[in-house]
Every structure is written in structure tokens, then in C-alpha cells.
Amino acid sequence: MSDTIITSAPKTGASKNNVSMSDQSKGRRSLWRAGVVLIIAACCYEAVARSGYFAPALMPKLSLVAQTFVAMLLDGTMIEHSVFTLYRVMFGFLLAVLVGLPLGILMARFAAVEGFFLPLVSALMPIPSFALVPLFMLWFGIGNLTTILIVFYAATFPMMFNTWSGVRSVNPLWLRAAGAMGADENALFWKVIIPGASPFIITGLRQAFLRAWIAVVGAEMIAASDWGLGWVIFDAKEFLNTDVMLAALVVIGGIGFVFEKMVFGSLEKATIQRWGMSRVAKG
């Protein structure tokens, strides 16, 4: 454990040619660091669990959690729960993208659309999606429809807002240059505005998914029946199955990590990082 803390990152005075290499080794190093931090956290948990502060039924040892996790994987229930949750989150997320992306673009291009939607976004975006779950349950009942709509609500606004900022941030010089080279409205839109706004659009996708993922687990806790990772946790509480709760949490964290790092991380690497545009989105 001790050797990990000592390793300090050497100053990389990288020239342009070996940027990708140092990026790679940097990525590997941060992966190592993440692994070690997780192990430390697990050790701390295990120490508290073994101390007897909580009853073993309330705070199971990691070996038991691992056992339950494997058992639920093998009998297929964990996979089925995950599939349900993924279905709901992807459905709601894609719907949010289909609505938020075009609306964000329209807002940026037409003052009237902006004038209508901007106050709406500002008013609705700060409402936590979880606060709407009881209301949506009364309107749409328990099940997929409510959870998908909650996800949709959570993900649409960040998508819209970021797309709007992205299109507005497109460098006017690009539009001038493209216009001088004979680009018509259609070409300007697809070949300049969309790629020019991409740093913000990708940030929007990322934020929208993060919010969607938080929303789906919350919504499933009270508005889903029988299936879903959120439901598993809430249901397990009734029977004091803390090992099941923790196993489901591991899956929730794992899937979230895969999307954040692998899906959106590689999307970023293939586009805005490759184009040297990632600084723009953060600024």
C-alpha cells in the first residue's frame, strides 16, 4: 500500500509528438491509483464491519457481500435487474437527447424559441427529479412509464442547456470562413455548427447520463415493482438483506463507471480530445 502514495507524477514536458504516449501512461497510472484507493476504502469498511459497532446483519463482511453478489450473478437475477434498469435509463436518456438536442439548437438559433424555453429551463432544471416521483406515480402509476419519464425529466435539461451554450459558442470566424468557401445553410449547420458545438454537446451527453443514472435508481425505489437495481435495494431493506443492498450498489457503481469512463470517455477521446477542443468545453 505504502508505495502508491510515494509515486508523484513526474513533470511531463511532453513535446507534441509524445502527447498520446504520456496520455496513455497517465491513464494507466490513474487507473492504478483508483484501484488502490478502492482497496483502501474496502479495508476501512471491513475494519468497521469487524469491529462489532453494527450488528453483523446490518453491516455484513465483504466476503458475504461478494458471496451474495456472485450468487445473484450466477442465478441471473442481478443481470435481469440490471437489464431492467438499463432499459429504463437508456429509453429515458435517448428520449431526452432526441428532445433536448434539437431544442437546444433551436434555442440558440431563434430568439423566440430561446425566449420561451430559457425561463422554463431555469425554473425546472433545479427541481430534483426525485421530488417528482410521487406526483408522477399518481399520474402514470407504478412501473416503466413513470421511471422512464423521471429519467427523461432529469436528462433533458442538461442536454438542452449544454447544446444551447455550445451552438452559441461556435467561433464566428469559422462561419465566415465556411461562408467564404461557399457553404450554404445546410453545410454550415452540419459541417461547422454541429462539430463546432461538439465539446458542449458531449458535456451535455455526459451530464444528462449522470443525472439519468441517479434518477433511475431513485425512481425505481418507489415507483417500480419487482425489477430494477433501485427496487432491489428498497425491497432488500424490508428483509434486512444488507448484503443484497451492497451487492446491488456495487453493480450500480460499476455500470455508472463503465458509462462515464468507457463510453463517454472514449467518445471524448475520439473527438474533442483528438481535435484539441477539450479545453473549450471546460472554459
Binding site: A177, G179, M181, G182
Partner: protein, 257 residues
């Protein structure tokens, strides 16, 4: 017919204090394959005038005719190079940037790539066809911008202080390269600069503008043989002559180096 006629062009800005005249009654003609430099102090409207010629701004009065046709909006008979390196599309490689105009013309990909490669060879960037702009130095990015503006074969190249943001050494190299490119392509070039030495090095004719409002103050032919030697006596004489024209309006010893 005169290839390019700038005919009594006046341009006004809307400011909170009312209309301000940026350029007033500017007229001059430009011959085919002529290299024109427009020189003047900042605020004389030289960049504005270039934007009017490019078609980005409509004149308040007067008109610009290219081959007899009045300029209305931008068109593919003109290529534009700006000062800002950010003019390139960061999401396209050097090749992708250069082929943009050809793509807009509807030229098939294979031919597009071939032409774009030729243009990049012309600006000595054949090794960097697949590089993205952020991997290129400022001088290289401006060379890509020149290749991009030339690729769809406009008859006129408009350049707005393209080398002003470069360091002095790179700028010298770029001037040399531009002179070569101009000799090879024989485009008509309208080049805006505040750098007198640059104007003398590049131009067939220098239009000197004065400020508030921007008017043509002198139209000077540079008859030095090419390639020009910036250290020769004649070169320095030309510079002095231009400086004197600028000095009437500018305090101190004038613009330039």
C-alpha cells in the same frame, strides 16, 4: 474591363453615439495578378475595406465590381485568409480543412484529396496532411489557411494581416513563401498590413490609407525586381517613401519597422 474596381466605397458603423464613417469614398482599380498591399494606421478602415471586398459587409455607398460584376455577399471567386489562427476548423485535419471549399463545390472525394494535397505541397506542408490544427505551429496553421483559400481556385486572394500574430522570424519565412506561392499561382492578391517592410517586400502596388475617416492617401507602385532584398538601398528608399506618406497622419516616425 478592369478585373477589380473599387468605386467610391463608403462604409458606416452604427455606434451608440450614432453613425460613424469608417471608410469614405475609396476608389482604386486592381489589375489581374496584381499584388496589392493596403497599408495604414490602425483605425483607418483597411480591414473593414477588405471585409467589404470579401462581401461580409455591405457598403453604405459605392460598389465593388469583380470582372464587371457587382459584389453582393461572399462568393467563390474570392478566397479569404484571416489573421486569427483559430480560423481553421479544429475537427478537420490539414487535408480536411483544405478540401472544405472543394467539398462545397461538390467535387468527388478522390479528386478533392488530390487537389488538397497539391495545395499543401505548395505551402510546404505535404508531411502534415493528416495533422489536426492544434498539432501545428501558428505559422503552419496560417499556411494551411492559405492553401485552404487557394484550393477552390478563386481568382482573388484576400488576406487580412495573416502574419501579424507570428514572431518576426517566422513572418520573414512566411513572406518568402507567400511570394513564391503568388509567383506560382498568379492570383490577384489584396493584402492588408500595418507593416511597411512587409508591404514593400510583397506588393506591386501599395495603397496608403489615412484614418478618421479612412481614405486613400497615396497609391504607390513598387518597381523593385523580385526576389527583393530587404537590405538593399532601393528597398529602404521605398520604405522611407511609404513612411513619409504615413507620417503626415501618424505622430512620431510612423508605422512599420
Amino acid at each position: 474591363m478592369v478585373p477589380i474596381a473599387i468605386d467610391n466605397v463608403t462604409l458606416e458603423y452604427d455606434t451608440p453615439a450614432g453613425k460613424v464613417t469608417g471608410v469614405k469614398d475609396v476608389s482604386f482599380d486592381i489589375g489581374a495578378s496584381e499584388f496589392i498591399c493596403i497599408v495604414g494606421p490602425s483605425g483607418c478602415g483597411k480591414s473593414t475595406l477588405l471585409n467589404v471586398i470579401a462581401g461580409f459587409l455591405p457598403p453604405a455607398a459605392g460598389e465593388i465590381r469583380i470582372d464587371g460584376k457587382a459584389v453582393k455577399g461572399h462568393g467563390m471567386d474570392r478566397g479569404v485568409v484571416f489573421q486569427d489562427f483559430a480560423q481553421l476548423f479544429p475537427w478537420r485535419t490539414a487535408l480536411g480543412n483544405v478540401s472544405f471549399g472543394l467539398e462545397m463545390k461538390g467535387i468527388p472525394k478522390a479528386e478533392r484529396d488530390k487537389i488538397a494535397r497539391e495545395q499543401l505541397r505548395l505551402v510546404k506542408l505535404e508531411k502534415f496532411v493528416d495533422s489536426f490544427p492544434h498539432h501545428l505551429s501558428g505559422g503552419m496553421q496560417q499556411r494551411v489557411a492559405i492553401a485552404r483559400a487557394l484550393a477552390y481556385n478563386p481568382s482573388v486572394l484576400l488576406m487580412d494581416e495573416p502574419f501579424a500574430a507570428l514572431d518576426a522570424m517566422t513572418r520573414d519565412d512566411m513572406q518568402l513563401l507567400l511570394a513564391d506561392v503568388w509567383r506560382a499561382t498568379r492570383k490577384t492578391v489584396i493584402y492588408v498590413t500595418h507593416n511597411v517592410a512587409e508591404a514593400v517586400y510583397l506588393a506591386d502596388r501599395v495603397i496608403v490609407m489615412s484614418a478618421h475617416p479612412g481614405t486613400v492617401q497615396a497609391d504607390i507602385r513598387i518597381d523593385l525586381p523580385r526576389p527583393r532584398d530587404p537590405l538593399s538601398l532601393e528597398f529602404v528608399d521605398c520604405q522611407k517613401q511609404l513612411m513619409r506618406h504615413l507620417g503626415h497622419k501618424v505622430s512620431g516616425n510612423g508605422a512599420g519597422h
